[in-house]
């Protein structure tokens, strides 16, 4: 025993030391990429790349399910530009922004990549992505072909950096069978908050013994409280991006909407909705209505309740309103193949490419008039609602560092929804903290 023990002692000590050092260092190194300056933007002019341009491009996306449609697009692109080789790099959502930020710090971003609303201003204001001013001037991309709310999302200080490639709006997914079971008449297409509230409450009361609720939602901004804030006439962030709207009575009314639903039992409470998400209640036949995005189509369409489902427009509050968001293709300002990357960006925004995206059913394409394939993908369900709502949809609220106040929303609002604190107390607290976060952006 003594022999082994003393022989082991020293190496063990070293091992412990190394493990301690390594494990901590691995953690530290995650946040220590070197600093570097921003790359130059592209100019105001755009001349289409020569057909024989040869380049290797990287195109970064986060959704594996869209790769088939992208590959089809790329085939069309290569018919025009046979010598531009495009590698599609799929980075899972959980790593996408962390990786992109790291790459942006060292100017090694993919040539073309997906951008979303919450992150857009961060990259635009730091000169990491190239404007499309030239493309628009030359007529290669026409923003009029897309929803203006979405164009606005990718406009920073009057400069356009991209156009949407797809969009999502929010609708009310309704389980007709549960309405029937509860003996409640199906809603009309122009229903109001009051109609909705009474339907939800009645169903919850009548089907309580079966553990079925009238309404569930994701309890996040985009699908749940942004639409109702807009419907109540409120706002999340002022148009100049400097002030929070959470301390205004209108915005608080939009939050109160959900607090009331939880309070009277129309909806499960916050704990229940956190442990079992709103869409899971709905596809399991445990809630009669689900306020959710157009992207829920795949999940709901393949669930056991698919045959009982129909989509209704969101009920009207003080005004009729919805929220729209869409992903955009943007070009890295520091790309070594700028001309080729811009050519690909232009191609992907074209009607041909967008029609192909729509026909392959991956998403709702953004180019106006290419969406019929989506609307017809679930006959009888009335997916057309999601397209009609574009007319009344407001842009997804963002600022330069959206994520910072999104965290505040996630952390503070549940107290208001659950009635732990009053909506106005939480609202003014959130507004104060959010204003502080916004002040840091300037």
């Amino acid at each position: 025993m003594p022999a082994t023990s003393s022989r082991l002692r020293r190496p063990r000590r070293a091992v412990v030391g190394i493990i301690a050092a390594l494990s901590t260092a691995a953690l530290l190194s995650a946040c220590s990429q070197g600093a570097s300056s921003a790359g130059g933007g592209s100019g105001d002019s755009y001349t289409p790349a020569a057909k024989n341009t040869s380049a290797n491009l990287t195109y970064a996306v986060w959704d594996q399910t869209q790769v088939a449609a992208i590959d089809a697009n790329l085939k069309g692109f290569n018919a025009e530009y046979p010598n531009i080789k495009v590698t599609v790099s799929v980075i899972p959502w959980g790593d996408y922004w962390t990786k992109l930020q790291t790459e942006a710090s060292s100017n090694s971003m993919p040539d073309l990549f997906w951008m979303n609303g919450p992150n857009f201003q961060l990259y635009a204001s730091n000169g990491k992505i190239a404007p499309i001013t030239g493309e628009v001037k030359a007529g290669a991309i026409d923003p009029k072909n897309y929803s203006s709310s979405l164009d606005d999302l990718y406009n920073y200080k009057g400069v356009q950096y991209g156009v949407p490639k797809d969009f999502d709006t929010i609708g009310m997914w309704v389980n007709k069978a549960l309405f029937q079971e509860a003996g409640v008449a199906l809603p009309s297409a122009n229903w109001t908050w009051a109609d909705f509230q009474s339907d939800a409450l009645q169903i919850s009361q009548k089907l309580k013994s079966k553990g079925i609720y009238g309404i569930t939602a994701g309890m996040d901004g985009q699908t749940t409280y942004y639409p109702t804030i807009f419907q109540a006439g409120g706002y999340v962030i002022s148009p100049d991006g400097k002030k929070s709207g959470y301390d205004t009575p209108e915005t608080e009314a939009g939050l109160q909407f959900w607090t009331d639903l939880i309070k009277n039992g129309s909806s499960p409470n916050m704990k229940q909705l956190t442990e079992t998400a709103g869409d899971q209640w709905f596809v399991s036949g445990k809630s009669a209505m689900f306020q959710g995005g157009s992207w829920a189509r795949t999940e709901i369409g393949s669930s056991p309740i698919a045959k009982d489902v129909q989509v209704y427009p969101l009920p009207t509050g003080k005004v009729a309103a919805n929220v729209i968001h869409g992903v955009s293709n943007v070009v890295a300002a520091g790309s070594k193949n700028l001309a080729a990357a811009r050519a690909l960006q232009v191609y992907l925004a074209s009607r041909t490419a967008q029609q192909q995206q729509g026909d392959m059913g991956a998403v709702i394409p953004a180019f106006t008039g290419t969406q019929t394939a989506f609307a017809n993908s679930m006959p009888g369900v009335n997916l057309q609602v999601f397209l009609d709502e574009v007319q009344i949809a407001k842009p997804f609220p963002v600022s330069k560092n959206t994520a910072a106040w999104n965290t505040l929303e996630t952390n503070l609002l549940p107290d208001a929804f659950d009635g732990t604190k009053s909506v106005s107390a939480v609202g003014s607290d959130l507004a104060t903290q959010m204003n502080a976060a916004l002040a840091k952006e300037q």
Binding site: M1, P2, T4, S5, S6, L8, R9, R10, R12, R13, V16, I19, A20, A21, L22, S23, T24, A25, A26, L27, L28, S29, A30, C31, S32, Q33, G34, A35, S36, S37, A38, W97, T98, Q101, A104, S105, L122, N126, K128, G211, M219, D220, P268, M270, K271, Q272, T274, E275, T276, N401, A403, A404, T407, T410, N411, P414, D415
Partner: protein, 302 residues
């Protein structure tokens, strides 16, 4: 420390020239380039405000002032300490289990060992998803079982303290396998003749366990303790996957590393996050040092 010093005295040899350095150079380059240098950089950046895409400005101790003024730091620290304390309960448990598995003549030993080790090699995220279902307040297995015995279970993953306990239970459970492997190796080093002698002297099984197994296993136990504390202080993925990013109870449950992650990668405040990282680094360093100081009192080395 004394051991090393006296060892050095005994084997005092002349300088070997550059050759030894040449041989360790490949390793040294990696360690310095990818570990030591980043730590130094992090230490530097903790005194700066760091733009999202780089470009830092020196702000002195401002980050540290803000850090120590933030109540979230102390809550995260408390949570981390509680988590570590609960996971450490797994150490005596794994000593006991490892010695059970070491029982001579036990059948299917490899099979048991595999069962215990499986959680350690499985993806933390996959494990978390399974446990999420078990802990689910409305439809979970655990509350269903509790209901059978007449207890109305809480919403484990969304109630303050219960969420931390739930995560700790899973942390404890998944650390058992690795500890047992390490302790099992230590057990193999205990000469069987000691047990034979003890048996002849009429010592009972429990007596043998406490008088032979535990004392001779202390070096392994010490090692397991160090490893467990370091890894517990780095609680992140389990917490993140089990509670989810949009959980209202997260601020009351988050660990130090989650606090670091939130500062750096959600709020994009990387200078501040560097300060958090340095704080964690110093804390683990101090704890480990203290443990090495204390080990002389209880670790049976000879």
């Amino acid at each position: 420390m004394t051991a090393i010093r006296s060892g050095a005295k005994a084997t005092h040899r002349k300088y070997d020239g550059a050759w030894p350095w040449l041989f360790v150079l490949p390793l040294l380059i990696g360690v310095v380039g990818f570990y030591v240098w980043p730590i130094i950089q992090t230490a530097y950046y903790s005194f700066t405000t760091w733009g999202v895409f780089g470009g830092s400005t020196w702000t002195g101790g401002a980050n540290y002032a803000a850090l120590f003024a933030d109540p979230q730091l102390y809550r995260s620290l408390l949570n981390t300490v509680i988590y570590t304390a609960i996971v450490l309960l797994g150490v005596p448990l794994s000593v006991w289990l490892a010695s059970l598995l070491n029982t001579p003549g036990l059948r299917f030993v490899q099979f048991y060992r595999l069962l215990f080790f499986l959680p350690y090699v499985a993806m933390p995220v996959a494990i978390s998803l399974v446990w999420r279902m078990i802990f689910n307040g409305d439809f979970g297995l655990l509350n269903w079982v509790l209901k059978l015995v007449g207890i109305h279970g809480p919403y484990w993953l969304t109630t303050e303290w219960f969420a931390l306990i739930a995560v700790s239970i899973v942390g404890l459970w998944s650390s058992l396998g690795f500890s047992m492997i390490l302790l099992g190796a230590g057990l193999k080093n205990i000469p069987p003749d000691l047990y034979e002698a003890a048996e002849l002297d009429g010592a009972s099984r429990p007596r043998q366990f406490f008088s032979i197994t535990v004392p001779l296993l202390t070096p392994s136990i010490f090692f397991v303790l160090i490893i467990t504390i370091i890894s517990s202080f780095q609680l992140f993925d389990l917490l993140y996957a089990m509670l989810g990013a949009h959980n209202a109870v997260m601020p009351k449950t988050m660990s130090l590393v989650f606090y670091f992650y939130q500062s750096g990668f959600i709020n994009n405040d990387k200078g501040f996050a560097s300060a958090v990282a340095i704080f964690i680094f110093a804390l683990i360093g101090v704890i480990t040092l203290v443990q090495f100081r204390l080990q002389r009192r209880w670790v049976h080395n000879d």
